[in-house]
């Protein structure tokens, strides 16, 4: 499975949700599918996309947060799985694209290429729902089930180590940061307004 095809297949589920991605291929490919103000691309600090997702999920429990992680990043912060599992935010979906490679920096193999099993580590860390989805169809199904489950889910998807044509994104880091910040603020306000309206009705 190509990661770009996988992203395209789940894009409709990402479109209106809060999304945090790691740097490199995942960010570039999601950006090229169509940037949205509710997408944040963590262009450094490898390993911390899931920690950011946890911070957002705990702060905005009424909204669903999707983290797009990778094997290289997750291996740098395996402790995040135990922390996610400890607090189990039901509004967080953690998707890990495992290409067994540090693709953006020369394609050197990661430990998943020699047997490290990220889904197994997630399960053993106590993540309540862990799925493996290695085809487009199973990924679409797993994502849609996870979003309906209201249960913290990690999905590990094996993908081919193929780079995007370009890693360039026409979006300065700080523009992304402030746009995302404003967007989350608007989402909270909209949510509060909808509750007020419901109560008044």
């Amino acid at each position: 499975m190509l990661r770009s095809d996988a992203l395209q297949a789940i894009y409709p589920e990402l479109e209106d949700r809060i999304v945090v991605t790691i740097m490199g291929a995942v960010a570039a490919e999601l950006f090229s599918l169509g940037h949205r103000p509710n997408f944040f691309y963590l262009e450094h600090a490898m390993g911390l996309a899931s920690s950011m997702g946890l911070g957002i999920a705990l702060s905005m429990p009424e909204h669903q947060v999707i983290v797009l992680d990778g094997d290289g990043s997750l291996l740098m912060n395996l402790g995040t799985l135990s922390t996610l599992a400890r607090y189990k935010p039901g509004n967080l979906l953690h998707i890990v694209f495992d290409n067994e490679s540090l693709l953006s920096v020369g394609g050197f193999p990661t430990a998943t290429s020699s047997g490290t099993d990220l889904a197994g580590i997630a399960r053993a860390s106590g993540v309540p729902r862990v799925m493996e989805a290695n085809t487009i169809e199973s990924l679409k199904e797993s994502v849609s089930d996870a979003l309906k489950s209201n249960t913290l889910t990690t999905i590990v998807s094996k993908v081919e180590a193929v780079s995007p044509k370009s890693f360039h994104m026409d979006l300065p880091l700080l523009e992304n940061r402030f746009q995302f910040w404003r967007c989350l603020e608007a989402m909270r306000k909209q949510h509060t307004a909808s509750i007020t309206e419901r109560n008044e009705r």
Binding site: V20, F40, L42, E43, H44, A45, G47, L48, A49, S50, S51, M52, G53, L54, G55, I56, A57, L58, S59, M60, N77, G79, T80, S82, T83, R86, Y87, L173, L174, R177, F180, W181, L184, E185, R188
Partner: protein, 170 residues
């Protein structure tokens, strides 16, 4: 354990007055009462970390989601979190309120704490992170409030160094 309950309580109350809603922490002797207070407070989300690095991500997420957070860490935890402080907080202009127990400095008896103690302030300076020392209970409220105000105005991390004089009753 001669960790000051009175001063821990004043610090906790000041954090509440700063509308802090999420605290991340890793246990350390001087922080035990603060962590317990956060744990027992139904209005506080306490996130117990595996490593301090995660706390930078959690605080960044909370900030972007409009929630005030604080981090409780030992200075060795601050040292463990330097890369994300640089490549997340400084890079993306994220305010952080870091409460750092200042081990390994004046009065320290544990040899293993001393190298961290001797490098903490020079590393904060190298990162251009302003720091208040808390040595006196009368300063707690004002200095915490002012540190948070600066963090939000500058969109930059700030450090509060919790000193032995404040935290430890010999």
């Amino acid at each position: 354990m001669p960790v000051s309950v009175t001063n821990s309580k004043l610090i906790y109350e000041a954090l509440k007055a700063c509308d802090v809603k999420i605290m991340s922490a890793l246990p350390e002797t001087w922080l035990v009462h603060l962590i317990r207070m956060a744990d027992e407070d139904p209005d506080m989300t306490l996130v117990r970390l595996a490593k301090e690095e995660e706390g930078i991500g959690i605080s960044a997420g909370a900030h972007l989601a409009g929630v005030n957070s604080a981090m409780l860490m030992q200075n060795h935890g601050f040292l463990a979190a330097i890369n994300p402080i640089v490549s997340l907080a400084l890079l993306y202009k994220i305010p952080l309120l870091m409460l750092i127990s200042y081990r390994g400095h004046m009065g320290e008896k544990d040899p293993w704490q001393t190298q961290g103690g001797l490098t903490t302030e020079s590393i904060l300076r190298a990162l251009n992170i302003p720091a208040w020392h808390l040595t006196n209970s009368n300063d707690i409220y004002r200095r915490l409030k002012d540190a948070q105000t600066l963090a939000h105005a500058s969109l930059h991390p700030v450090a509060i160094l919790l000193t032995r004089e404040l935290m430890w009753e010999d």
